[in-house]
Subunit: 111 residues, 2 copies
């Protein structure tokens, strides 16, 4: 396995902001935090920017930027449907990141 240091930097920076961490917690379990959507399923498609904006109380451009940072880090994926953009936690990538972080921080196994 190659040195995966740079692979965890972007997610760590993305997670270092408390607003983004809050959003990720919402996306982890969207039906508990958002009302049903007409044009896209909360779980299947993700949560639209407008819902996140309303709930977090920031301007819409600020939320867009936060979501792009999360997407660039690979922690969420986005899907455009009509003129909505739905963001969804990327379970696979989250697990990969968590594994890489453990690998980076935990004491190396003796051999």
């Amino acid at each position: 396995m190659p040195d995966c240091a740079h692979m965890i930097s972007a997610p760590l920076r993305a997670l270092s902001n408390s607003k983004r961490l809050t959003i990720l917690r919402w996306l982890r379990d969207p039906t508990s935090h958002f009302p049903p959507q007409r044009d896209g399923d909360l779980v299947v498609d993700g949560v639209c920017v407008g819902f996140i904006t309303k709930k977090i109380g920031l301007s819409q451009p600020a939320v867009t930027e936060h979501m792009q940072i999360l997407a660039d880090a690979g922690l969420v994926s986005s899907k455009k449907i009509r003129n909505w953009v739905f963001y969804k936690l990327d379970d696979e990538q989250v697990r990969t990141f968590l594994a890489a972080l453990s690998e980076t921080l935990e004491i190396p196994k003796p051999r």
Copy 2:
């Protein structure tokens, strides 16, 4: 279990800086990255500020600040011996943090 959100924010901010992440990787396995110390064992006591400063190529005050951020986040512990200060990865707290982060990011189990 209480909401442990704020418990992971400080470590995440501490980890979001690449210099600090590099230092943590060194501290994870100090004997592979630093020469033996006269007045404190690399593994038992930790690594002194001077060694880290020399290796990372920043000013000593910058390193001191980085180490304080890591210590405030609970990721490292410090031990003063004579006029040295040794920093050491806190395995227990690192594991606690990793578990809390997984708890925060992973899909809640159905029940």
